[in-house]
Amino acid sequence: MHEPRVYGLMAEFSGPEQVLEAARQAYAKGYRQMDAYSPFPVEGLAEAIGFHHTRLPLFVLVGGIVGALSGFFLQYYAAVISYPLNVGGRPFNSWPSFIPITFETTVLLAALCAVVGMLMRNGLPRPYHPVFNVQRFERVTRDKFFLCIEATDPLFDEKKTLKFLESLNPTHVTTVDP
C-alpha cells in the first residue's frame, strides 16, 4: 500500500438523477470507498454507494428503556426507600402517580440518544474535511451534487478513476487534496 498523494477524485453533477446514476455505476464498477454529497437527502443515494442500514434505532430503544427504568426508580427510591412519608394517606409506593414522570424520562433519554447517536456516528462536529478543499464544493449546500471516490479504495487509480468519472458526464471532475 503506498501513501496516496490525493484524498480522492470528485465529480460534480447538477441533478439528483445524475449523481444517483453515477453512484450506482461506480458501485457496479467495484468502487467501495466513496461518498456522495447532496444539498438534500436523495432517496436511494446511500444504498447506491453501499450504505444500507444504521444502528441508530437500537441506540434509541436502549436509551428509552434506560430512561424508563431510571425514571421510575428515582421516584420509588425517594418515596419508599430514602424518605417514606405519609402523604395524604397514600401508600409509599403509589405507582400510578409515578407514571407521568417515568414517561417523560423515557422520551428524554431516547431523544438525547437519537441526536447524540446521529452526530457521533456521523463523526460530527468535524471542522475540517478534505472535500472542503474543493472550491466548487461550496455549492453542495446550494444546488450541486457530488460523487467522491477516495484514494483509499483498492481500485483507486488516479488516471483510470478519472477516466471512469468523466464517462459519467459530470459537469466537473476535480482532485481532492488530502
Binding site: 412519608l85 405519609n86 402523604v87 395524604g88 394517606g89 397514600r90 401508600p91 403509589s94 400510578p96
Partner: protein, 992 residues
C-alpha cells in the same frame, strides 16, 4: 439597645432637662444615645407590617434581614420579673427553668369588673392568657377581649413618658407640680379638687379614695364610663329601693328570656353565663332535655343568633312587650293595647309560667330602668329569686346611680369655675363623654388637670399632665368579679415604660406618701382587711389561686316593691314612622379602649364579619326604603348633631331603626386605631345613651369600603350545618347522618394510626360565635394581622374562622355559627399536590405544615375543600421589637411566601408528650388542650385521642350527632361536628 450597654443615668437626666419642644423619647437607651439605638432609629420606627401602606413594604423587606436580631437584642433589656415576690399558679418562681413557661394567676379588668386569668410567662415574658379554672367568672375560659389584652401590654404606641401640655415631662417635674397644687388644697380642704374614675371595684382603690376624701373633705369623686350599668342600677333602685347587683344562675334555668341583653358575650360574668347556659344546652351524650332561649332584641346579637325564638323589635318597643309579659306573669302593670306578636308572647308567657322557679328574665344594659324593674318583678312573681336569680350588695365601690349624672355634675361645676384641679384615673372622657356635655371644652378651663392612662389619647392631649399608666399585667392591684369575688392582680413584668405606673401610686402620692409602691399599697390594704391571722399564708394562697377565699358576696334577700314597679309610667311610645337608632359597644373594640389592638381590629365582628371599621347597620327592608346599598355613606342627624358612616345591611335587624357601635373615629388612639370608622359620640347625649328616636337619615352619595371576611351568607342548600329541633332529634337521633352521601371506596389501602390519633369535635349547639377562640388561636400561634387593605383583598390570616350562615327569610333569618379549623383529613387533598412535601401527615394523624420547606405554590390551598389554609402573600409578621416579645417561642414566626394553617396546637401536644414521657406514662385524656378549646366559654370544642375509647373525644365521635364536613370527598376529616339541636316551643306561630 442590648442590655450590656452601660447607661449613665445622671447623663440621661441631664439630656432630659435640656430637651426642648415635643421630643418624645422611647427609652433610656435613646437618651443615652447608644450606638445600638442610633442604628435602631435608622430603621425608622418599625411598624406592624400590613397595616402599613404599600410604600413602606420595600423597606420592610430589607429590614427583615436585620430586624429580628436587633429587636431581640433590644428586648431582654426590658423583660424582667418584678423585684417583689410574685406567686406563680403552679410552680414557684425561685427556679425558672429556661424554656419551661410559668403560669401566674391574676385578673383582667374591664368596666371595673375582674375575670380571673392565668398568664403564661416565658422567661419573664408574658405571652398568653388563659382563664383561671378556679375563678367563678372564668372557670378556665375567657372572652376575646381578655385574650387580646396581652397584645395591648406590648403595644408600641402605648404612652411611654409623662407629658406636660403635650411636651416631654419628667416624673420629678410632675411631683413638684402635684405637691404645689396640693399645698393650696390642704388649706381649702380640697375645694376645687375632683377625681374622675371609671367604675371601681378595687377594694384598695376604694379605700384610697375614701382616705383621700377624708383628707380633703371638700373634694369630690366622680365616675364615668361610656358603657355603664346606670340603667341596671336605677332599675334595681326602683324595684328594691336600693342598688343591688343581680346575679343569674343559668345552670338552673330551663327557660331564659333575654330582654335586649347580650348576656352571653358582653358584660361582667358573660363568660360564666355562657358556660352555665351551654351546660343546659348541650344534648350530646343522649340527653333528652335542654333549655329554651327567647330573645327580644333591638339589634342583632349572638344571643339572638342562638335563641330558639327571636323577636326583633325597635329599641323603644321592648318596654311595651316587657309590660305585656309582666302582666302575663302576674305583675299588674298598665299595658299598651297594641296586639303585635300575640301568639309569640302567649307562648312565652305560658312557657314562663310552667317553669316557675326554673326560668329567668334577663334585662339588657341598653334598656331603660323600667325594663330592669319589670324584669325583677317578673322574676319574683315567677319564684325565680333564690333559684335562677340572686341579689347581692353592689360590687362597685360607692356606685353612682347614674354615671352620666355624675359627669354632668362635674362639667357644670367646672363651668361654674368650682374646679381647678382634676385628676382623671383611666378612661378617655374627652373622646367618649356625651356630646351635650362638651367635656373637652370644659376640661380646657381646669387649671391643673392630670390624666393617667395607657395611651396619650384624646384626653391626655387636653390635660395639663399625662402620666403613662402601667398595664394590668405590669402592676399590683385588685378587683372584684361580677359576684364580688376579689382577685389580687400581680404583675408579671416590670413596667415597660417609665412614669407613675398606677392609679394606686398616684392616689398615694396625693395622700402625701413619698415614693409609694403599688405592691406596698395593695399588700398593706389586705394586711388590714384580710382578717386572717396568718397574713403571709393568706397573701401567698390568694396570689397562688388567683382569688381571695371567701370574698364572694353573699346573696341578700330583697323584695320587689310591687307598687312602685306597677305604677311606673309607660315610656314614650315611638310612632312607627320615626326612625330610631341604637348605640351599642363594639363587639371587638368595646368603647374604644381596644382601638389600637390589631387583633381585635381585625377580628371579624359576629354576624357582620366586619373588620377595621364600624358601620351603620340597617335591615334589608329599611335599606330598601331609603334605597341604600352596602358601603353607601349616609348622614345621620339628631338634634342638630350629625354623624356620617357607611351602611351595612344586616338581615335580622329590626326595621325602622339603625345600629351604630361605639369605639371608632378615634383621633389619638395610635397607629392601628386612629382615623378608623366614625365617632358616634357626636350624637350620643347623656339623657339617651343607648337609643334615640326621630333621627334623620340622608344619603350622601359617597361610598366607603368595608372589609368583611365573609361575602356569601347562604349555604346554597349544602349539608354543611346540620340542625334539628329537640323533638326531631329525640324522634330520630341519627338525623345528622341521614342524606349523607356515602364516601367513595379508595383504590389504596389505608394508613394505620396505632398510638395516639388526635381529633377534635365542635358542638354547634353550644357555639355562640363569640370569637374568643379566634383571638386565642392568634395569640397562641403568632398569627399576624394583615390590615384593612389585605382583608379587602381576601387575605386575612386567622387559622380558625367562624362561618356564619343565614337560613330562612331575609328579614328574620335563622343564624348558625360554624367554627372551621383545619380538618386534619386523613386523606388530605392538600398534601398530595405539594411538590416539595412541605405538608405531610405525622404518625398521629396530624396534617403538619413544614414552613421552612414550603416554597409557596399555594396548590394546597386550592385543593383544600375547606379553604382553611392561609398564605403570607406579603411580609406580614412584624419586626416591631415590643410586639416580638409577645410571640410564643414554641411556634415558628412565618415569613413571606409561606403557607400556614391550624396545627391542632402541635406545640401543646409535644409539651404534653414530654411531660408524659418524663413520668413514663401515656398522655392523659384532657391533658392536651388546644388554644381555641381552652378559651371557649361554652366549651363547644373538645380535643383528644380518638384511639382511647374512654376519652371524651372518642365518646363524642361515637355520638349519633357527630358528623363530618364534606365527607363525601373521602377526605376523612379528624375534626367533626356535633349537629345543632334547637329547642323551639311547640306553639304554632312561634317558629324561631
Amino acid at each position: 439597645m442590648s442590655n450590656n450597654t452601660q447607661l449613665d443615668i445622671r447623663q440621661i437626666r441631664a439630656t432630659l432637662q435640656s430637651k426642648q419642644g415635643s421630643e418624645y423619647w422611647r427609652c433610656l437607651e435613646e437618651l443615652a444615645e447608644t450606638e445600638e439605638f442610633r442604628e435602631f432609629l435608622h430603621r425608622e420606627f418599625p411598624r406592624e407590617a400590613s397595616v402599613w401602606d404599600d410604600s413602606s413594604m420595600g423597606r420592610r423587606q430589607f429590614l427583615m434581614l436585620m430586624g429580628a436580631s436587633l429587636a431581640l437584642a433590644g428586648l431582654n433589656a426590658c423583660t424582667k420579673q418584678p423585684d417583689e415576690k410574685i406567686i406563680p399558679f403552679v410552680r414557684s418562681p425561685e427556679f425558672v427553668t429556661p424554656g419551661v413557661p410559668l403560669s401566674f394567676a391574676t385578673a383582667m379588668v374591664q368596666g371595673g369588673f375582674a375575670t380571673g386569668i392565668l398568664v403564661t410567662s416565658h422567661m419573664g415574658r408574658p405571652t398568653k392568657i388563659e382563664g383561671n379554672p378556679d375563678h367563678p367568672a372564668s372557670l378556665g375560659a375567657t372572652d376575646a377581649f381578655t385574650q387580646a389584652s396581652i397584645l395591648s401590654l406590648y403595644d408600641p404606641d402605648r404612652s411611654q413618658v409623662p407629658l406636660n401640655r403635650g411636651l416631654i415631662g419628667t416624673r420629678d417635674k410632675f411631683l413638684q407640680a402635684l405637691s404645689q397644687a396640693l399645698q393650696a388644697k390642704k388649706a381649702s380642704g380640697g375645694a376645687g379638687l375632683r377625681i374622675l374614675t371609671e367604675t371601681v371595684t378595687s377594694p384598695t382603690l376604694g379605700d384610697q379614695l375614701a382616705r383621700l376624701l377624708r383628707q380633703f373633705p371638700r373634694a369630690r369623686w366622680h365616675q364615668y364610663e361610656p358603657v355603664s350599668m346606670d340603667y341596671a342600677r336605677e332599675g334595681a333602685r326602683i324595684a328594691f329601693g336600693r342598688i343591688v347587683t343581680t346575679r343569674y344562675h343559668l345552670d338552673k334555668a330551663d327557660v331564659v328570656l333575654s330582654l335586649d341583653s347580650d348576656f352571653l358575650t358582653h358584660g361582667p360574668g358573660a363568660v360564666r353565663y355562657a358556660r352555665d347556659f351551654a351546660q343546659k344546652r348541650k344534648v350530646a351524650g343522649g340527653k333528652q332535655t335542654m333549655n329554651r332561649l327567647y330573645s327580644i332584641e333591638s339589634s342583632p346579637t349572638n344571643v339572638g343568633a342562638i335563641a330558639d325564638h327571636r323577636l326583633s323589635v325597635r329599641p323603644h318597643d321592648v318596654e311595651a312587650l316587657t309590660r305585656r309579659i309582666a302582666r302575663g306573669a302576674g305583675v299588674l302593670v298598665e299595658t299598651p293595647q297594641s296586639g303585635n306578636h300575640d301568639t309569640w308572647l302567649a307562648a312565652l308567657v305560658q312557657d314562663l309560667r310552667t317553669h316557675q322557679g326554673s326560668s329567668v328574665v334577663i334585662p339588657g344594659l341598653y334598656q331603660p330602668p323600667a325594663v330592669h324593674a319589670l324584669a325583677h318583678a317578673i322574676n319574683e312573681r315567677l319564684g325565680n329569686v333564690g333559684k335562677t336569680v340572686s341579689y347581692s350588695e353592689p360590687v362597685e365601690i360607692q356606685p353612682e346611680q347614674s354615671q352620666a349624672e355624675s359627669l354632668r355634675k362635674l362639667v357644670s361645676d367646672i363651668r361654674d369655675g368650682q374646679v381647678d384641679m382634676l385628676v382623671i384615673l383611666g378612661g378617655n372622657p374627652v373622646y367618649d363623654a356625651p356630646a351635650d356635655l362638651d367635656f373637652g371644652g370644659a376640661l380646657a378651663s381646669v387649671a391643673f388637670s392630670v390624666h393617667l392612662g395607657l395611651y396619650a389619647d384624646e384626653t391626655a392631649a387636653e390635660c395639663t399632665w399625662h402620666l403613662p399608666q402601667a398595664h394590668s399585667l405590669e402592676t399590683w392591684s385588685d378587683a372584684r368579679a361580677y359576684d364580688g369575688t376579689a382577685t389580687i392582680l400581680q404583675p408579671l413584668i416590670t413596667p415597660l415604660y417609665a412614669g407613675v405606673s398606677s392609679d394606686h401610686e398616684l392616689l398615694e402620692l396625693m395622700l402625701g406618701t413619698a415614693e409609694p409602691k403599688s405592691y406596698d399599697i395593695v399588700r398593706e390594704f389586705w394586711r388590714r382587711h384580710s382578717g386572717s391571722r396568718d397574713f403571709e399564708t393568706f397573701w401567698r394562697t390568694s396570689l397562688n389561686s388567683g382569688l381571695v377565699a371567701g370574698s364572694t358576696f353573699p346573696s341578700r334577700n330583697v323584695r320587689v316593691r310591687m307598687q312602685e314597679v306597677q305604677s311606673l309610667p309607660p315610656g314614650r311610645a315611638v310612632p312607627g314612622d320615626e326612625l330610631s337608632l341604637a348605640f351599642r359597644p363594639d363587639p371587638t373594640v368595646w368603647d374604644g379602649r381596644y382601638a389600637n389592638n390589631g387583633w381585635l381590629q381585625e377580628l371579624p365582628k359576629p354576624l357582620t364579619t366586619l373588620t377595621w371599621d364600624n358601620a351603620i347597620l340597617v335591615s334589608p327592608a329599611t335599606a330598601g326604603r331609603f334605597d341604600l346599598q352596602n358601603e353607601s355613606v349616609v348622614e345621620i342627624a339628631y338634634n342638630g348633631r350629625k354623624i356620617a358612616g357607611p351602611v351595612w345591611i344586616t338581615p335580622g335587624h329590626p326595621d325602622q331603626t339603625v345600629t351604630v357601635h361605639l369605639g371608632y373615629g378615634r383621633t389619638k388612639a395610635g397607629r392601628i386605631g386612629s382615623k378608623r370608622g366614625f365617632n358616634v359620640h357626636a350624637i350620643r347625649t347623656s339623657d339617651a345613651p343607648w337609643s334615640i328616636a326621630g333621627i334623620g337619615l340622608a344619603k350622601t352619595g359617597a361610598k366607603s369600603r368595608l372589609a368583611v371576611t365573609q361575602h356569601h351568607h347562604l349555604m346554597e342548600g349544602r349539608n354543611l350545618v346540620r340542625s334539628a329541633s329537640l323533638a326531631e332529634y329525640v324522634a330520630n337521633p341519627v338525623f345528622a347522618k341521614e342524606h349523607q352521601p356515602s364516601a367513595q371506596p379508595s383504590l389504596y389501602p389505608e394508613h394505620e394510626y396505632d398510638g395516639y390519633a388526635w381529633g377534635m369535635s365542635i358542638d354547634l349547639s353550644a357555639c355562640t360565635g363569640c370569637n374568643a377562640c379566634v383571638v386565642a388561636c392568634q395569640a397562641e400561634n403568632n398569627i399576624p394581622i394583615v390590615g384593612k387593605d389585605q382583608v379587602l383583598a381576601g387575605r386575612e390570616m386567622h387559622w380558625i374562622r367562624i362561618d356564619r350562615y343565614y337560613k330562612g327569610s331575609l328579614d328574620d333569618p335563622e343564624v348558625v355559627f360554624q367554627p372551621v379549623t383545619c380538618m386534619h383529613c386523613e386523606n388530605a387533598p392538600c398534601e398530595v399536590v405539594c411538590p416539595v412535601a412541605a405538608t405531610v401527615h405525622d404518625s398521629e394523624g396530624l396534617n403538619v405544615m413544614v414552613y421552612n420547606r414550603c416554597i409557596g405554590t399555594r396548590y394546597c390551598s386550592n385543593n383544600c375543600p375547606y379553604k382553611v389554609r392561609r398564605f403570607n402573600f406579603l411580609q406580614y409578621s412584624t419586626d416591631e421589637p415590643t410586639l416580638a416579645m409577645q410571640k410564643n417561642p414554641e411556634v415558628t414566626v412565618r415569613s413571606r411566601g409561606v403557607m400556614e394553617k391550624c396545627s391542632y396546637c402541635v406545640q401543646r401536644i409535644s409539651a404534653a408528650r414530654i411531660e408524659a414521657k418524663k413520668e413514663g406514662r401515656e398522655i392523659r385524656d384532657g391533658e392536651v388542650v388546644t388554644a381555641c378549646q381552652a378559651a371557649c366559654p361554652s366549651q363547644a370544642i373538645v380535643f383528644g385521642n380518638i384511639n382511647d375509647p374512654d376519652s371524651r373525644i372518642a365518646k363524642l365521635k361515637a355520638d349519633p350527632l357527630d358528623y363530618g364536613l364534606l365527607t363525601e370527598l373521602n377526605t376523612k376529616p379528624r375534626t367533626s361536628y356535633l349537629a345543632r339541636v334547637t329547642n323551639p316551643h311547640q306553639e304554632p306561630g312561634t317558629s324561631a
